[in-house]
C-alpha cells in the first residue's frame, strides 16, 4: 500500500473517488427530497390559484399553462410571469377567464424595497388589472388602464410589462 501512495497516478484516483462518493451521496439524497420539494411547489401554486378562482375544483398543467377546471369544464387559464423589478426578480401569477380577460393577478415573490416597491402586492394595485383585455394592460401614462404606484414607477412598470409580454406568448398557445 505504501508505495501505491507515491505513484504518479495516485492523486488522480483519490480525486475521482472523492467526486464519485460525493456524487452518489447527493443523488441518493436528491431522490429522497425531490418528491417533497415537488409537493411543496404544487401546494403553493394551488393555493395561489385557489384565491384567484374561488369556485375551482382542479387544475391541469400543460406546457406552463394551468387549465382551471370546475367539474371538468375549463373556467379559466393561469400562468406565471417573471419581471425584473428595482430590487430583483418579481414572479406574478396571472389568471385569465374564459374570454381571455384578466380575472385577477397576485404577486408570488419579489425583493423590492420594503415600503416602496413592495406596495405592488397591495389590492389597490393588483385590482387595476381585473377585467382588462391584453391591449389596455399598460400604465395610464402610456395609454393603459393601470395607474402606477407613486414613488415606485420602476416596480409597477416591471410588473405591467411582465404580465403583458407573458400574456402575449400564452394567448397564442392556449388551445
Amino acid at each position: 500500500m505504501a508505495n501505491f501512495k507515491n505513484t504518479k497516478v495516485y492523486p488522480i484516483i483519490i480525486l475521482t473517488i472523492v467526486v464519485l462518493v460525493s456524487v452518489t451521496v447527493l443523488i441518493f439524497l436528491n431522490t429522497l427530497t425531490s418528491p417533497v420539494v415537488e409537493a411543496q411547489k404544487r401546494k403553493e401554486i394551488n393555493n395561489q390559484l385557489q384565491n384567484i378562482y374561488s369556485g375551482m375544483t382542479d387544475s391541469e398543467l400543460e406546457d406552463e399553462i394551468y387549465y382551471i377546471l370546475k367539474e371538468d369544464e375549463t373556467i379559466g387559464y393561469a400562468f406565471i410571469a417573471k419581471g425584473n423589478g428595482y430590487g430583483g426578480e418579481i414572479t406574478i401569477m396571472v389568471g385569465l377567464d374564459k374570454n381571455l380577460e384578466v380575472k385577477d393577478v397576485s404577486i408570488m415573490s419579489h425583493s423590492e424595497t420594503p415600503g416602496l416597491g413592495s406596495r405592488v402586492t397591495e389590492e389597490s394595485f393588483t385590482d387595476d388589472f381585473k377585467g382588462l383585455k391584453i391591449e389596455n394592460i399598460a400604465l395610464n401614462k402610456n395609454g393603459g388602464e393601470i395607474d402606477a404606484i407613486s414613488g415606485a414607477t420602476i416596480s409597477s412598470e416591471a410588473v405591467v410589462s411582465a404580465v403583458r409580454e407573458e400574456m402575449k406568448k400564452k394567448i397564442k398557445s392556449i388551445k
Binding site: V19, V23, L26, I27, N30, Y86, I154
Partner: protein, 191 residues
C-alpha cells in the same frame, strides 16, 4: 445585441457584484491596500472568472440540464474552479517566478473568492447561453476590478489620515465601502 450590452452594464455597474451583491468581499478588503496589488488581483480574478464561467455554462447547459441534476452544480462548479486555479498557479509558478511572487499569493485566494463562483451561479440561474455568460463574466470581472481599484486608491489616502485610534484599518475601510456602495446605488434602476 443590446441584450449583451445590458448584461455587461448590469453586471459591471448596476448590480455590481461587490457593492450590491456582496460577492468577493474577503479579497476586496484584504488586497485593496496598495494600488499595484489591486491591479494584479483584478486581472487574475477576471481571467479565472472568464474561463470558469465558460466551462461552467458548458457543463450546465449540456450536462446538468439534460439529466435534471441541477442541484449538482455547486459541487461541479467549485471543482472546476479549484482545478482551474490549481493549474493556473502551477503554470505561473513553474514558468515565471517573478510574476508568481507578485501574483502568487492571490491565486489560492481566488478559489475561495465568492465572486467567481457567484458569477457562475448567476449565469446558471439566469440560464444564459455561452455568449451571454462570457459577457456577464467579463462584466463581473471589470466591475470587480473597477471597485477594487477605486477602493485601493481611497485606502492609500486613508493610511495617511488621522482616523481615531479604534477606527484605523478595517473599520474605516468598511465605512468607506458603505459610501462607495451608496454611490453605486445611484445606478440602480438604470436598466
Amino acid at each position: 445585441m443590446n441584450n449583451l450590452i445590458s448584461i455587461f452594464i448590469l453586471m459591471a455597474i448596476v448590480n455590481n457584484i461587490v457593492l450590491a451583491k456582496f460577492l468577493g468581499l474577503c479579497p476586496f478588503f484584504g488586497v485593496s491596500k496598495k494600488l499595484s496589488n489591486a491591479l494584479s488581483m483584478g486581472l487574475a480574478v477576471t481571467l479565472v472568472m472568464l474561463i470558469a464561467s465558460i466551462s461552467t455554462t458548458v457543463i450546465y447547459n449540456y450536462l446538468l440540464v439534460p439529466f435534471q441534476v441541477e442541484f449538482m452544480r455547486i459541487v461541479l462548479y467549485i471543482l472546476v474552479i479549484a482545478s482551474l486555479v490549481q493549474m493556473v498557479e502551477l503554470a505561473i509558478k513553474r514558468t515565471n517566478v517573478a510574476l508568481y511572487n507578485s501574483l502568487g499569493i492571490y491565486l489560492p485566494l481566488i478559489t475561495t473568492n465568492c465572486a467567481v463562483l457567484g458569477v457562475a451561479l448567476i449565469n446558471s440561474t439566469e440560464n444564459y447561453t455561452i455568449l451571454q455568460s462570457t459577457v456577464s463574466a467579463l462584466g463581473g470581472g471589470v466591475g470587480f476590478s473597477l471597485v477594487l481599484i477605486i477602493m485601493s486608491g481611497i485606502r492609500e489616502k486613508l493610511e495617511l489620515s488621522e482616523a481615531p485610534e479604534s477606527m484605523e484599518g478595517l473599520p474605516i475601510a468598511f465605512i468607506t465601502a458603505a459610501m462607495l456602495a451608496l454611490a453605486f446605488l445611484g445606478f440602480r434602476g438604470m436598466i
